[in-house]
């Protein structure tokens, strides 16, 4: 059985990726399961979807614990433990990362035995095409199995995106074909994992803990606003930066419209943006009357900061 997991951020089309790959397997005559992890859907938040495919009926259920292939659409997720990218990766698991960095870098960084591949993005994707990353990942994954033809992938893309505009579908087919071709040298690298059965499962040696009284065991939080310990600033791909020379110091405007309590009135009345929590929605950029807030790509801002710190 093939067990494949797709990791990305909400909005990158991971659900679509699993559907396209699942349908491509199906066209090739496989029994298929494809699902997105059930839960809250948040744009920018870590998300995963998974596919199982086998030639006989699939009895396994639930999230894939031991994947044969893990596809990562956004390399910033690898160190985010809550994203669970590295979960269950064994010596035979292939890791495919969509990244600007090299395979060597990732090998050193992750210290993994199994094969690591980088999906080089040759076709430049526009920001508006973020959702197409899923298509690219699905096609690359299909190629790596070595048992799905390009024709099946193209048909799967057309089928799954049938509700979209013709131009969009064509563009996705083109992206899929490109990704498939770029992975050709590694076709067949992903090996099917064996079937597992609950009979083979070794029962853990449980330690019995007596249940506590409900008053003690029900979770209670006594601190105020503990959520500030969660750094949602990691979601951001664009950063708002205030140009104080244009700012009118009317922080009741930008401060009221920020949905994330991330703008406070700072010294001298200028807005102070809490970068640990700003999710990069860009509402403040759109609403500032004198256009005193500009949006710059987060990666650029970070690079500038590093330069500033070094010099």
């Amino acid at each position: 059985m093939y067990r494949i997991r797709f990791h990305g951020r909400g909005g990158q089309g991971m659900k679509t990726a699993s559907r396209i790959l699942g349908t491509a397997f199906f066209i090739e005559g496989f029994e298929v399961q494809d699902a997105q992890r059930y839960g809250a859907e948040r744009r920018g938040a870590p998300i995963f979807a998974y596919v199982r495919a086998d030639r006989t009926a699939i009895h396994e259920r639930g999230v894939i614990g031991r994947p044969d292939l893990v596809v990562v659409a956004d390399d910033t997720l690898v160190p985010v433990s809550a994203a669970g990218v590295m979960q269950g990766i064994g010596p035979d698991t292939v890791l495919l990362i969509d990244s600007a960095e090299s395979e060597k870098t990732w090998r050193e960084r992750l210290n993994l035995q199994g094969p690591i591949l980088v999906l080089p993005r040759l076709i430049p994707l526009e920001p508006s095409e973020m959702a197409y990353v899923g298509t690219e990942c699905a096609a690359a994954a299909a190629c790596l199995t070595g048992i799905i033809s390009l024709a099946s992938v193209r048909q799967a893309v057309q089928q799954e995106l049938a509700y979209m505009k013709a131009g969009v579908v064509d563009r996705n087919v083109e992206i899929a074909s490109g990704a498939f071709a770029r992975m050709a040298a590694h076709s067949g690298i992903v090996q099917e994992g064996g079937t597992t059965s609950h009979h083979d499962r070794t029962v853990p040696s449980w330690v019995d803990l007596p249940a506590d009284d409900i008053g003690e065991s029900s979770p209670a939080i006594y601190g105020a606003a503990t959520s500030v310990a969660v750094r949602t600033g990691l979601w951001r791909s664009m950063r708002p930066v205030v140009d104080t020379s244009r700012c009118n110091r009317c922080t009741w405007i930008c401060g009221s419209f920020c949905p994330d309590s991330a703008i406070a009135r700072g010294s001298e009345g200028y807005p102070q943006i809490d970068l640990d929590h700003c999710k990069g929605c860009m509402i403040c950029v759109a609403q500032c009357p004198p256009h005193a807030i500009v949006a710059i790509p987060e990666a650029e801002a970070v690079a500038q900061e590093k330069e500033g710190a070094a010099s």
């Binding site: 909400g10 059930y38 809250a40 859907e41 948040r42 744009r43 920018g44 938040a45 509700y163 505009k165 979770p219 939080i221 601190g223 105020a224 606003a225 503990t226 959520s227 500030v228 310990a229 969660v230 750094r231 949602t232 979601w235 951001r236 009317c250 922080t251 009741w252 405007i253 401060g255 009221s256 419209f257 949905p259 994330d260 309590s261 991330a262 406070a264 009135r265 809490d274 640990d276 929590h277 999710k279 990069g280 929605c281 860009m282 509402i283 950029v285 759109a286 609403q287």
Partner: protein, 310 residues
């Protein structure tokens, strides 16, 4: 009644009570409304949260609130609120808390619970005269699970349940009218993108007793299909096109707090959202657009006639 606290934008609080770091989507219009509401109600507020997007505000051990929060199933938030209110009343009667320490009990719920799954429990709570505020963030669908159709979904909108992608054939349920029919102490529609109007209404609601409802239209980038930066613009257009009337009910009378003038064509609001894109492309769906505009016109016609006459 103390409406005087919020005269201008400048009077709005510049520090927010609600902590950052929540799991709401970037640009969430519901979170914007909850943040603004909490600022006006203050720390002495206990939230009883019906399952939905906002239940992810508090994920143990993290909470953005400065006081208590209780999580209930979708149908039972008003029952939870009753229990909390009763407990507070008992503490008051026994002298174990002072009037200053008493809490405002607020149900926080999405439109799925407010207008559908939890409606009968709400109706019963109003009948019993429960002293609480019911705050509904209306993102017009079951947003937390990927925007399935709810009873608040507007006519023509695409949702995840719409397999044929033809747009919702039904019409948005009028939850405000349902509340008003129950004769509550207060009911108002608000939107996060009009923070001053919201703050004034909350200030008024705060000073009253009995069942009170705040219905906030909640622009939802994820479910409505637009870039988060447009959340406030879309909120304003909802008001300017008249599709989201801002109004309040008290003492048996409904008053509009804003008369959009000139009222913009409703398509200015619709065309910014992916869920209505099929009304414009590949070809304009004139009959559908007219239906939607006609419904908005019919709503405002008597009010505009009265305004012109007076």
């Amino acid at each position: 009644m103390t409406e005087a606290r919020f005269q201008r934008m400048k009077d709005l609080p510049s520090t927010h009570l609600l902590g950052a770091g929540t799991a709401m989507c970037a640009g969430c219009g519901g979170l914007a409304a909850v943040t603004e509401v909490y600022d006006v109600l203050g720390e002495n507020t206990v939230f009883v949260n019906a399952a939905g997007c906002m239940t992810l505000l508090s994920v143990y051990p993290f909470t953005p609130f400065r006081g208590s929060w209780l999580y209930t199933a979708m149908a039972s938030a008003p029952a939870g609120a009753q229990g909390v209110r009763d407990a507070l009343d008992i503490l008051r009667a026994k002298g174990r808390i002072t009037p200053e320490e008493d809490l405002q009990v607020v149900v926080l719920s999405g439109d799925g619970a407010a207008g559908g799954i939890g409606l009968s429990a709400t109706s019963a709570a109003i009948d019993r005269g429960l002293d609480f505020i019911y705050l509904c963030y209306d993102n017009e669908g079951y947003g937390n699970t990927g925007q399935q159709t709810s009873s608040a979904t507007p006519h023509g909108a695409l949702t995840a349940t719409d397999a044929l992608r033809s747009g919702f054939a039904g019409w948005k349920k009028d939850l405000f009218a349902i509340w008003v029919a129950n004769k509550p102490a207060y009911a108002a529609t608000v939107i996060g993108g009009e923070p001053l109007d919201l703050a004034r209404k909350l200030e008024k609601a705060r000073s009253m007793d009995g069942p009170r409802m705040i219905l906030a239209l909640a622009p939802c980038p994820a479910g409505w299909g637009y870039d988060p930066e447009h959340s406030v613009e879309i909120a304003r257009l909802a008001v300017k096109t008249g599709i989201w009337p801002l109004k309040e009910y008290a003492d048996g009378e409904t008053v509009h707090t804003r008369l959009p003038h000139p009222r913009q064509p409703v398509e200015n609001y619709l065309k910014l959202q992916g869920r209505f894109a099929h009304l414009f492309e590949p070809a304009r769906d004139e009959p559908r657009l007219k239906e939607i505009q006609d419904a908005v016109d019919a709503y405002w016609a008597p009010l505009e006639a009265e305004h012109a006459g007076g």
